[in-house]
């Protein structure tokens, strides 16, 4: 840029220089030519004037003499000599003839007149030899020589003139250089003069006063010749007065003018160079400043401004440059802001993305931008600049990953399908930094560089599939075991399978017992009615607990009929039989419908405890705990439950299922006190319920504890044994039975159940709490 500026400056300088020099030279040449023409014209006029004066000096006698002399000299008898080549070299007369003419008076008069003319051109108009000493001429006359040429010779031989008379007939030192120079040689009378090529001569012969071109003599300087025709009375040209006039002063003047001109040109040359250099420097300085500013703008320094003081075009340019810098600066700031906004948007997106996203460069290094989820997936704080393959501890896998990544950067001729299939991370199980096992799916996409063909980076997206994978695994498991929909659902809701299966069995047993009862209705004994009533009651408790409210209601109605049946008349019993039969049919519909069962179980899924552990015992424990909590929530009371089953007690829990149902029904049907009531009796606000099964010496010991109101059949502070309970039978039944409890059937059922299991039972009531101890053999 500097170089081009230099070139520009050089060219500008040269242009200014040439213009200045050209103008100076042209002016000088014009001035010189004009001066030369003026000087020349003035001099010519002076020469002509002297010629005219010379002519006026000659009178008619002189002219007649000259004509006669010319005629004599050109007498053909004399004119025997050949034509001369140049100059007045041909002497036509002998010396005595010349002297004879010179000594004549008319000739002398003409000579004198010529001399007078010559000296008139000097300071003194008089011949110096006759002047007194004080009046001696101080300067030589300007007329070098004055002579008269005859024209008769010219008639015979064109271009040739004959000397008729000259101002001197002796050699004299005309230029006063103290010697006789060749050009001071005398013009002899009768000499023939070659006038070939003399300008102005032919015009003079035609009668005009003319001036010829100048000539330079060796010792006396420059001369010009004036030709003035001498005319007779008839106006005919009879001779020419020739005056050689000194032009030395004029030529000197012209020469000096020329020299001065050269000096002026040299001075102008030097001045032009300096002026051009200075001017271009002055003109280019603002340009230089602007050029430097432009360079800084190019280097993204938009704060640069060019100061201007002038009001010319350069100032406009500077203004435009400043405007450009400002707008570029603003644009740049705006762009930077926009980029910052975009970057923060992208960071936000990366932060919010659920997927893992990162980019890898051609060296396999992870770049610094990745989504926040990426860090969570790998359970690490930082991934930037880490080699992607080092995320995988399995060395073989890491090598495959490296080779796979390299494929994207080294090859562009592999189909997308093939790359997908070759992906070693398509679906992997990964143990992250926190030790958690993750099911991850990686996909790779090339991001092309600016040229659009080479791969700049690789976009890796990671989907954490862990939850879905677990679900899939579970479903696969269920499918592989070829379970029915019911089994699958049971498995999913984690209701202990034995409970459901026992429930179904219990229902089937109820139905067959019920049908049997109807058949033998007229011959029923009270014991079998009581046994059936207990069976119905147990089923009712279970049905209500599992949410089969419809069945529970039907069973409650059967209980009502069974209760009054033994005391009825035969007529009334027929009606009762019909009613029980009808209810049995209705309950069969409610029971046998498998779909109803499935939908009930589905209804229960929502309430199932998902956090339950895997073992059957803990699932049983969770089931009972949740049942206790469910009942407390329905009753609206605070409880402190405790359920604990000893290892290996699964069978016992199963055997006691309906017993536990009845115990809980007793507690919640009439054992509930309000918080105020409890406090007045000195009990904690929360109702304590404990169901604990421990291993005994032989078999298991079951303890049911509650600190509610207690059991209706047991007086405070007393203990009831199994035998006492069995004796009571249905005698203690109360009329005010609700769907929940009240008839005493619950306790009967418990007692008979324990008896049939060959276990033992003891109920103790003391200090506001009731404890039921049950022991069962192995």
């Amino acid at each position: 840029m500097l170089k081009s500026l230099f070139n520009f400056r050089f060219r500008l300088t040269a242009a200014i220089f040439l213009v200045a020099l050209g103008a100076t030279v042209t002016g000088l040449v014009y001035y010189y030519l004009n001066a030369k023409r003026q000087i020349w014209s003035q001099m010519s006029n002076r020469v002509k004037d002297f010629g005219k004066i010379g002519v006026t000096l000659m009178n008619a006698d002189d002219l007649r003499y000259l004509e006669k002399l010319d005629t004599n000299l050109n007498d053909t008898r004399r004119n025997t000599a050949p034509v001369p080549v140049s100059g007045a070299t041909l002497s036509a007369l002998a010396d005595d003839e010349k002297i004879k003419i010179i000594r004549t008076t008319p000739f002398q008069i003409i000579v004198q007149k010529l001399r007078r003319l010559r000296f008139a051109s000097g300071k003194s108009a008089v011949y110096e030899s006759i002047l007194p000493a004080g009046l001696e001429a101080t300067a030589e006359p300007q007329i070098h020589r004055a002579w008269i040429a005859g024209i008769k010779m010219h008639v015979h031989a064109p271009n040739f003139l004959r000397v008729l008379c000259a101002d001197e007939f002796e050699e004299i030192d005309r230029n006063n250089n103290q010697r006789i120079d060749p050009e001071e040689s005398i013009y002899h009378i009768g000499d023939v003069f070659n006038a070939r090529g003399l300008t102005g001569l032919s015009a003079a012969l035609a009668g005009e006063v003319t001036v010829g071109s100048g000539y330079r003599s060796e010792h006396s300087g420059v001369y010009i010749s004036g030709y003035t025709p001498l005319k007779n009375a008839k106006g005919e040209v009879i001779a020419l007065l020739v005056i050689d006039f000194s032009a030395a002063t004029e030529f000197d003047a012209l020469f000096r003018l020329k020299v001065t001109g050269y000096y002026i040109i040299i001075a102008a040359l030097l001045f032009s160079i300096m002026a051009a250099a200075t001017t271009s420097r002055f003109l280019l300085r603002p340009l230089e400043v602007m050029q430097k500013a432009a360079v800084r703008i190019g280097q993204r320094d938009f704060s640069v401004r060019v100061a201007t003081q002038s009001r010319d075009e350069l100032a406009d340019l500077a203004f435009a440059l400043n405007l450009m810098a400002q707008e570029l600066g603003e644009y740049s700031t705006q762009m930077e802001r926009r980029i910052a906004a975009r970057t923060s948007e992208i960071s936000g997106i990366l932060e919010a993305l659920e997927q893992g996203i990162l980019t890898v460069d051609n060296r396999g290094l992870i770049q610094s931008e990745y989504s926040a989820a990426t860090l969570r997936i790998f359970a690490t704080d930082d991934l930037a600049n880490r080699k992607f393959s080092t995320l995988f501890e399995n060395e073989k896998l890491a090598q495959s990953v490296d080779r796979f990544i390299n494929l994207f950067f080294s090859r562009n001729d592999i189909s997308v399908q093939m790359l997908e299939k070759a992906n070693p991370l398509r679906e992997i199980e990964y143990i992250n930094g926190a030790g958690a096992t993750k099911n991850l799916r990686f996909s790779f996409r090339p991001l092309f560089a600016e040229d659009g063909t080479t791969v700049g980076r690789l976009l890796v997206s990671i989907v954490d599939d862990t939850d879905e994978a677990k679900l899939r695994e579970r479903i696969t498991l269920a499918e592989t075991q070829q379970r029915s929909e019911l089994d699958t659902l049971m498995n999913l809701i984690r209701i202990p399978q034995p409970i459901l299966e026992a429930f179904i069995e219990q229902q089937e047993a109820y139905l067959s017992a019920g049908k049997d009862l109807i058949i033998r209705f007229d011959a029923l004994d009270p014991a079998s009615v009581t046994a059936f009533a207990q069976q119905v009651h147990a089923l009712k408790g279970n049905a209500l607990q599992l949410g089969f409210d419809e069945l529970g209601t039907l069973l409650h109605r059967i209980e009502d009929y069974l209760e009054v049946m033994l005391r009825q008349t035969p007529y009334d019993r027929r009606f009762t039989r019909h009613e029980i039969s009808q209810i049995l049919n209705l309950s069969e519909q409610a029971i046998i419908s498998r779909e109803t069962l499935v939908s009930r179980i589905r209804h229960l899924i929502g309430a199932a405890d998902n956090s339950a552990a895997n073992s059957q015992l803990s699932r049983l424990r969770a089931f009972w705990l949740s049942k206790i909590q469910e009942r407390a929530a329905i009753a609206g009371i605070q409880i402190a439950p405790e359920v604990s089953f000893a290892d290996g007690s699964e069978r016992v829990v199963g055997q006691l299922h309906n017993v536990i149902v009845q115990l809980l029904r007793n507690t919640f049907a009439h054992g509930i006190e309000s918080a105020a009531e409890r406090q007045s009796r000195g009990k904690p606000a929360e109702l304590s319920i404990r169901l604990i099964i421990t291993r005994a010496m032989t078999g298991f010991a079951v303890t049911y504890y509650e600190d509610g109101r207690g059991f209706a059949q047991i007086a405070q502070g007393s203990t009831l044994t199994l035998a006492e309970l069995l004796q009571k039978g249905l005698t203690g039944a109360q009329r005010s039975a609700t769907l929940e409890a009240g008839r005493g059937l619950g306790m009967d059922f418990i007692a008979s159940s324990i008896q049939s299991l060959r276990g033992d039972l003891r109920i103790t009531s003391q200090n506001g709490s009731t404890i039921i101890h049950i022991t069962l053999p192995d």
Binding site: F404, D413, S415, Q417, M418, K421
Partner: protein, 127 residues
């Protein structure tokens, strides 16, 4: 255009040729098909003819598919190679890609799927 189909099963070779013929219709007349039952035979054909597209099975007697590809690529030839195979292991497919295979069709092949995979090679060849 010369297409080389390499597979030890004659049925497979016929199916591949049929899929191409059906999809290209009249244009298929401009194609010469070469069949080879193993990598060695394929190599003989390959060296004798200016083949412009190769369909290749993986597991073959004498010289298997990937070995064949390595030899071809080793000699600097860049002919498009489509692998037709029942191999699905990503590690093996990665090996094939690294050896120089350009595309992959999974066995058992279905006409449209195969055609989707190879249509681009014909577009590239100006069909």
């Amino acid at each position: 255009m010369q297409i080389l189909i390499v597979d030890d099963s004659e049925l497979m070779r016929t199916i591949v040729e049929q899929v191409i013929r059906e999809n290209l219709r009249e244009a298929a007349a401009k194609i010469r098909f070469y069949h080879a039952a193993n990598g060695k035979d394929a190599m003989d054909i390959f060296q004798a003819e200016p083949v412009s597209l190769v369909f290749l099975d993986w597991n073959m007697p004498v010289l298997d598919g990937v070995e064949f590809v390595r030899e071809i690529r080793g000699s600097g030839n860049k002919v498009p190679i489509v692998m037709i195979t029942s191999v699905t292991d990503s590690e093996k497919i990665l090996q094939a890609a690294a050896a120089g295979v350009n595309s992959y069709v999974e066995k058992p092949i279905r006409g449209p799927q195969l055609w989707d995979q190879i249509a681009m090679f014909f577009r590239h060849a100006g069909f």
